[in-house]
């Protein structure tokens, strides 16, 4: 009986001790290893005791792609002369929680972390949680990063982030599907684009594939609006033009007509959408340039031969618009050694590191890397050709989040045929009046 009591007492103490240990705060203990992946270069694993010469990079982009993460870590470490420890979170909520708990703690804060542009970045920047990076921008512009991106990452005249990735959204199409429909060249005008869609329908191919992600309903909305008039698009984003403007009515009527003519496929999961583009069941979709790499890696298409890209032509002779989305990287204001963070940032844009990001993710941010892939090179050339193309921040980050979230639901209902043009625009405008204080 005494032995039993003693055992019970020991078990209680162990349980209590375990609970208290689990509650204790510590950078390594705070991360759930089933959620995060940690990649360090092999040099770091030998030299784990030294905290100088080591930098941590947190992100929500590289979970589930351990091989890519390792290659990036190796190249980045070699460029930086530091050991770059990449911690990737697979779950957005967990990542946001980890950042919010660590961003004010100098001991726990990473040297660099990815975030989301737009209002979410603005929230961190205006609450003083991020380091100003104006001096870093001077250096990375010299390294080849486009200065046009800086504005999207700046608030009150200061830059608070640098780009982790710059994704350019263009129409990526299956060349074989186009050939089957008798289309030998990409459309130069919007009318030609509509004619090509009709040719595809006549050839038994659905012209445009759509994905069913709940946030994706803005993709063709922004494309057609900007094709009508880029200033119209910018106006609805900043609230200077109403959604119920007669030009917007015309835009949505054009879009509705395209649905009626069968130019759009039923929305499906992104992976299925990619598959049907690869198989030629659908001819094209609007996606970031990384999907060119996906089509090649997953379905064996050949860039330039089976897959190519173009921007949606303007309806009224304006420059064609390429929508970009930028994933920012920022430095916590409380970081212990800001010089290490700056060194880490600069090393990201070296040719060595950018070669890995281009090869593995289809992402390149500087003009120092040779792009072998003809489609990716073409997309980059479009962006650089400011005489004929205009780069604009996409709707998702260019619109206040409360309005954006509301608009996405209304646009999705419109796409599904649940409501007409005026109802959709009026509903969005009601919210816009609230958000912009009209």
């Amino acid at each position: 009986m005494k032995k039993l009591k003693l055992m019970s007492f020991i078990l209680i103490i162990c349980l209590l001790a375990g609970s208290l240990a689990g509650c204790s705060k510590g950078n390594d203990q705070a991360k759930d290893t089933s959620v995060t992946e940690n990649q360090s270069s092999s040099a770091a694993e030998k030299d784990s005791s030294s905290s100088s010469g080591k930098a941590t990079f947190w992100n929500d982009k590289l979970a589930g792609v351990a091989e890519i993460s390792k290659k990036l870590s190796d190249a980045w470490s070699s460029s930086a002369g530091l050991t770059v420890d990449i911690n990737s979170y697979g779950d957005t909520a967990s990542y946001q929680t980890a950042v919010s708990q660590s961003i004010d703690d100098a001991d726990a804060a990473p040297h660099l972390f990815t975030w989301w542009s737009g209002e979410q970045l603005e929230t961190l920047a205006t609450s003083g949680k991020l380091m100003e990076l104006d001096d870093v921008w001077e250096k990375i512009i010299e390294m080849g990063v486009s200065p046009d991106i800086k504005e999207a990452l700046s608030y009150s005249g200061h830059a608070y982030a640098v780009p982790y990735s710059l994704l350019n959204n263009v129409i990526i199409y299956n060349k074989d599907a186009f050939k089957k429909a008798g289309i030998t060249d990409t459309p130069k005008t919007f009318d030609e684009f509509l004619e090509d869609c009709q040719k595809l329908v006549d050839a038994g191919i659905t012209p445009i594939g759509l994905k069913n992600d709940s946030w994706a309903s803005f993709i063709w909305f922004q494309a057609i609006t900007a094709s009508y008039d880029p200033n119209l698009y910018l106006g609805i984003c900043d609230g200077s033009i109403k959604y119920t403007d007669e030009r917007m009515v015309e835009v949505l009527e054009i879009w509705q007509d395209m649905f009626r003519k069968g130019y759009f496929a039923e929305p499906v999961a992104h992976s299925d959408n990619l598959k049907r583009i690869a198989l030629g069941e659908c001819a094209m979709f609007i996606e970031p340039q990384g999907e060119v790499t996906s089509l090649q890696n997953e379905y064996g298409l050949v860039s330039g031969e089976n897959v190519d890209a173009f921007a949606l032509p303007s309806m009224h002779g304006d420059k064609a618009v390429v929508f970009f989305e930028v994933a920012p990287m920022s430095v916590p204001a409380v970081v212990k050694d800001p010089e290490t963070s700056k060194k880490l940032i600069e090393a990201y844009y070296t040719k060595e590191t950018q070669t890995v990001t281009l090869k593995e993710e289809g992402i390149v941010l500087t003009n120092t890397v040779d792009i072998d892939d003809p489609t990716l090179a073409k997309i980059n050339a479009m962006v650089a050709d400011t005489d004929n193309y205009q780069s604009i921040l996409r709707f998702y980050e260019n619109t206040p989040s409360a309005l954006r979230d509301h608009a996405l639901v209304e646009l999705a209902k419109f796409m599904d045929g649940q409501q007409d043009v005026m109802t959709t625009l009026e509903n969005i405008q009601k919210k816009a009046d609230e958000v912009f204080g009209n």
Partner: protein, 294 residues
């Protein structure tokens, strides 16, 4: 000496509390404190980073005037009612068949197997099966081209599909409970009824079903609570889409908090959901204890 003895006696009399102390500490630290903080947060506007701003009942007012919240409530009620009906009838039916079968272990394992999968894994399996290149393709091959689409993208149909999927995973546990209940029934009233010439249906309705009441109440309570807070498979399969048409209260709570960074709004949904579950559970339990005393 007397004081020493009284302390010793006091400790001996309270030693039972030591055994439950770790659980109490854990529950207080992780559960009760979270509830208190959530209630507190529901009266504030907070994005997770900036300072909290007190807004009183504003979060609650916005919820009740939001059409998406109303859809969420409707979907939750649909989940609860449909799942309750299916997860009572089907498991009981299977339990009766299994108890009277010669291969009860085999069938028990077969029907229990889906319950061993996590909801996330089950959701992923269903997402793949119901995607355009899954089961819908089979219908396409049979000539039903209009069915070749992602079934989870069809509003309201996807909710029914997800309810059946959730039930598929939940049947096993309820079935086991009913099997245990059936096997532990007192045989005397059943035999008496059979001797009196009661038909099988009358026997089931008037003798077996009333005797199964305690088990039924447990199954109902568990199903109610689980279906009110259903999240995993909906998040994996549709994320509440298209256009928030398949959102339930648990999903609304999550998306308000972690997707829209509206912690106050999400907390308000959490408080409402908790109150609903408490009220439903209270009446259910009160009814149980009342009938047991009777």
């Amino acid at each position: 000496m007397n004081k020493g003895n009284s302390i010793k006696n006091f400790l001996i009399s309270k030693k039972d509390y030591l055994y439950i102390l770790p659980a109490v500490i854990l529950i207080t630290a992780f559960f009760i404190s979270s509830i208190v903080f959530t209630i507190y947060l529901s009266f504030y506007s907070w994005d997770g980073f900036s300072d909290k701003v007190f807004v009183g009942f504003e979060n609650y007012k916005k919820l009740f005037t939001d059409s998406n919240f109303q859809i969420s409530v409707m979907n939750t009620c649909l989940w609860v009612v449909l799942s309750l009906v299916i997860s009572l009838i089907l498991p009981l039916f299977f339990a009766i068949l299994i108890v009277n079968s010669t291969r009860s272990s085999l069938f028990k394992n077969i029907f229990y197997f889906p319950s061993t999968l996590s909801s996330t894994v089950g959701g992923l399996i269903m997402t793949a099966l119901l995607s355009m290149y899954g089961i819908p393709q089979v219908f396409g091959l049979l000539g039903y081209d209009s069915l070749v689409k992602d079934w989870l993208s069809i509003p309201y149909v996807n909710t029914i599909v997800m309810i059946f999927m959730g039930t598929w995973q939940g049947i096993g546990m309820n079935m086991l409970l009913f099997i245990a209940g059936l096997r532990n029934l007192d045989r005397s009233p059943i035999e008496s009824a059979q001797i009196d010439g009661a038909s099988k249906m009358t026997l089931f309705r008037k003798v077996i079903l009333p005797a199964l009441k305690p088990t039924t109440i447990v199954v109902v309570l568990m199903s109610l609570v689980n279906n009110f807070k259903v999240f995993d498979n909906i998040w994996v399969m549709t994320k509440g889409g298209p256009y928030r048409s398949s959102e339930t209260l648990a999903l609304t709570m999550y998306t308000e908090t972690f997707v829209r960074n509206n912690y106050g709004g999400g907390a308000a949904v959490a408080v409402i959901l908790t109150l609903v579950i408490i009220i439903v559970s209270y009446f259910n339990l009160k009814n149980t204890f009342k009938s047991n005393e009777g």
